[in-house]
């Protein structure tokens, strides 16, 4: 069984995010970048399936400028077998990403596609669902457990009310939640071996997909600074403030 894992290069979760002076975007100049944590969990899950003898090949794919090859090699060091880089300077939005992934799915014919439930840069939480809609494959989002069973997969999902298990016919799509697994650290030998694993480069044009953005970003702003708290003298004052100032009750 072949598993396809989509991974994204994002700002490192330790970095304090700053907005560009012209408010056009987040400032990425000289900022440490990393593999999106949810994607790391996706890679780990695929590698565990391979180690368990369930998967036979793990293919990782990423979309973006040449720099995303760094994250692809990280994914290879974690145990991916080969990588596909869809080379584009233009950063596509979720729908274009889903269309590109659909084209890769058509080429690779994986039985399972694993994605992070969201990327920590824009937190959209869309791509997996859109890919499901475009390909017609069943989807199990926010997975905290994945168990392949013959031609189907049981996915335990984290939903508001607790856990829900769905049984999906393969080929299927899974998006990962935080509790699915604890990703390993790449060992030194695997980091060096990853440099020699195949990494194919293709383009949106090769895949016949337009990456023109359909969503326009008007302005990016930092959240308002939290103002200092005040001490209230009584419960009555607190209730009053909640009602009349915060307007939450």
């Amino acid at each position: 069984m072949k598993v396809l894992v989509a991974v994204k290069r994002v700002i490192d979760y330790n970095v304090k995010v700053r907005v560009k002076a012209d408010q056009s975007d987040v400032d990425l100049a000289n900022v440490k970048m990393a593999l999106n944590p949810f994607c790391e969990i996706a890679v780990e899950e695929a590698v565990r399936l391979k180690e368990a003898g369930v998967a036979s090949e793990v293919v990782v794919v990423s979309i973006g400028p040449k720099a995303v090859q760094e994250q692809l090699r990280t994914a290879l060091a974690l145990g991916g077998d080969r990588a596909i880089h869809i080379d584009t300077e233009e950063l596509p939005d979720s729908l274009a990403v889903a269309k590109l992934l659909k084209a890769v799915v058509a080429q690779e014919q994986p039985q399972l596609v694993i994605l992070g439930k969201q990327a920590i840069d824009s937190d959209n939480n869309q791509t997996g669902q859109m890919l499901g809609a475009l390909t017609g494959m069943p989807q199990g989002t926010f997975a905290s457990k994945v168990a392949v069973d013959g031609s189907s997969v049981n996915v335990t999902r984290e939903v508001d009310g607790g856990l829900q298990t769905v049984k999906l016919q393969l080929p299927a799509i899974v998006t990962t939640d935080l509790r699915l697994n604890e990703p390993r650290y790449a060992s030194l030998p695997n980091i060096m071996k990853a440099k020699k694993k195949p990494l194919d480069v293709t383009t949106p044009a090769d895949l016949g997909v337009s990456v023109a953005r359909t969503v326009k970003v008007l302005k990016v702003e930092a959240p308002a600074e939290r103002s200092a708290g005040v001490k209230v003298a009584s419960v009555a004052e607190l209730v009053d403030k909640l009602k009349n100032e915060a307007k939450v009750i």
């Binding site: 330790n14 440490k32 760094e70 090699r73 990280t74 060091a77 650290y185 790449a186 060992s187 030194l188 030998p189 980091i191 060096m192 440099k195």
Partner: protein, 591 residues
């Protein structure tokens, strides 16, 4: 930001100051590039933060226990050990053909920095094992290498260094442990060793002790000392465990700090059946140990610098957060108190720490770079300079790291003295470093009595050349000119002192020349670290913009080093040069 080390500092030192990327020009390191270094450092950092840091305090509060037959350590330590081994860090420096990764010493040292800051006592087990494996690799027979190394490098066996005895510490030439030739061709070891780190534990299925002992009939003194492999369990030819060897744990020692590492008293040959296997040639034991201990000594310096570094970061975070008091000019009791980081005296304590620990880290990485130049590029001069600097690389951080930890406690005030904050433990842990791997005093004798004059003084010459080269470059930045001028003038005086000491030694007045060796070591360290601060300042100026707060921090630390620390060192030159004998001439009855 990491709680263990400011990553920007580490990257600055690696890539800007010590040129890690250029190492891939050496054939041994040609597979590496910056990206692979970054990935390896990310693994080291992750394992250190996730598996070593969380039980830093727990390992201190729950010392290893010995019930008379077995030792018990905390469970988290076993997980940490296994993670360390699984990521390939134990064998990172070994050759590819031996299952290693040929990782440059410079990058390896940076990886180790994370572990030392996270939990030095737990890191001691893998570090000792790597060091012991290095010795066997360098001097063991190929049969010994095949038998022991694979298991030591994948984490099944651990290693120790067993030199010290109850009655013999600094003066190893006097050691008494015996090796008796047996008719099976091997030896039987008999004697006691003390303070042996990791001498017993419950992490690994076997322990490989490297024991220094005297073969029966061998001469007294250093020349009679040989090295033996003494496993806890003997091995069958296929490497599987055979009988328990006759080496017994006599007891655990209870320490001030570093409590997570077992410190053992070991009894060899109580039943006259402790099998030992000679390593290399008889009589070479001590020289083998010292040849391979160079990296271990740099490792001690690194540990001291990083325990200091961690204390600096802890106290800095506290100082930014703790409101207390007002500026001396502010008499308004209703005004908001300042965070203590705004008080001049707290800034002093923070800047002192910053200067000591970043200077110490730079020193250790310099040494690692010299290891690479020497070993991977066969640069003889790098080896000579490294030899000269090793006592300083071991001792400067060991002396100033605990000072930094002392200041960290002071920054926290009462909070610094209680166990709810980590700085008191950091101090206790760090206090070991001037004692083991050759005490401060012994290092100073080595520096002044030997290292300065080896190779006809070529090490000195190389060092002074490098200092001058830095001065020339730093002078191009007008901001650094006053510091360069002060340093340059002071350096002349220091060189003059070195000359005087050298002449006195040459005239055979050895006791007189060496009487103030520890002061000399401290003074020379300040000149070496002063040089590194000028180098860091000029590299920082060359690679960052003027309004960058990070750059301002570097420039101020350089200023502190040259304007405060260096004059303290310089003030002692007259006493050194006149062979002041206030203590040397004391008689024991006058105390």
């Amino acid at each position: 930001m990491s709680r263990l080390v400011a990553e920007r500092d580490l990257e600055f030192l690696l890539y800007q100051v010590f040129g890690a990327e250029q190492l891939s020009q050496y054939p041994r390191y040609s597979d590496y590039d910056r990206e692979s270094f970054a990935q390896i450092l990310a693994t080291a950092k992750g394992v250190a933060e996730d598996y070593f840091l969380p039980h830093f305090q727990q390992a201190d509060a729950h010392e290893p226990q010995f019930d008379g037959s077995t030792v018990t350590t905390i469970a988290a330590l076993k997980v940490a050990w296994q993670q360390f081994a699984d990521t390939g860090l134990l064998s990172a420096r070994q050759d590819y053909e031996h299952g290693g990764m040929q990782l440059p010493a410079l990058v390896h040292m940076a990886c180790n920095a994370y572990f030392m800051a996270a939990n030095p006592a737990s890191a001691a087990y893998p570090f000792l094992t790597s060091a012991a494996a290095n010795v066997i690799r360098a001097f063991g027979s190929s049969a010994q290498q095949q038998l022991y190394l694979p298991a030591m490098l994948d984490g099944r066996f651990a290693g120790t260094m067993a030199l010290t005895e109850p009655d013999v510490g600094s003066s190893l030439g006097d050691l008494t442990t015996k090796a008796i030739k047996h008719r099976d061709g091997n030896y039987r070891i008999k004697g006691q060793k003390m303070y042996i780190s990791g001498g017993d534990q419950d992490l690994t299925e076997n322990i490989v002790h490297l024991v220094l002992a005297r073969i029966e009939g061998a001469p007294i003194g250093v020349k009679g000392i040989s090295m033996f492999i003494v496993p806890k369990f003997r091995l069958h030819e296929d490497g599987s465990l055979a009988a328990r060897n006759d080496v017994q744990l006599a007891g655990l020692l209870h320490k001030m700090g570093y409590r997570g590492t077992t410190s053992t008293v070991l009894s060899f040959g109580e039943q006259d059946d402790c099998h030992g296997y000679l390593v290399g040639e008889a009589g070479q034991g001590l020289s083998y140990m010292f040849k391979m201990m160079n990296e271990a000594r740099i490792g001690v310096g690194l540990g001291a610098a990083m325990i200091g570094y961690r204390g600096y970061l802890e106290s800095l975070a506290y100082a930014k957060d703790r409101p207390q008091g007002r500026a001396p000019t502010n008499k308004d009791p209703a005004s908001k108190p300042l965070a203590i980081v705004e008080h001049a005296d707290v800034k002093r304590m923070l800047l002192q720490q910053k200067t000591y620990v970043e200077g110490g880290l730079a020193l250790c990485l310099l040494a690692a770079r010299l290891v690479d130049d020497h070993e991977a590029n066969h640069d003889e001069d790098a080896g000579i300079l490294l030899d000269l600097l090793t006592p300083i690389v071991k001792s400067y951080p060991s002396y100033y790291g605990p000072k930094a930890n002392d200041l960290a406690i002071q920054v926290l005030g009462g909070a610094g003295y209680i166990r709810e904050y980590p700085v008191e433990q950091l101090y206790r842990d760090n206090r070991l470093n001037p004692i083991h791997e050759g005490t401060h005093g012994i290092q100073s004798l080595d520096l002044l009595g030997r290292k300065l004059w080896q190779h006809q003084g070529r090490g000195q010459k190389l060092l002074f050349q490098r200092m001058q080269a830095t001065l020339q470059q730093a002078q191009q930045h007008s901001q650094l000119q006053p510091l360069c001028a002060q340093y340059g003038q002071s350096l002349q005086k220091f060189m003059h002192t070195v000359l005087t000491l050298g002449q006195t030694l040459q005239q055979g007045e050895v006791d007189k020349a060496l009487a103030n060796s520890a002061i000399f070591l401290d003074v020379m360290s300040q000149y070496v670290v002063g040089w590194l601060w000028l180098e860091m300042a000029q590299q920082a100026l060359a690679s960052s913009s003027a309004d960058d707060p990070w750059l301002q921090g570097k420039l101020h630390a350089a200023r502190y080093q040259i304007e405060w620390e260096l004059p303290l060192a310089e003030a002692q030159l007259p006493q050194l040069q006149s062979f002041n004998d206030s203590w040397a001439s004391m008689q024991r009855d006058w105390f």
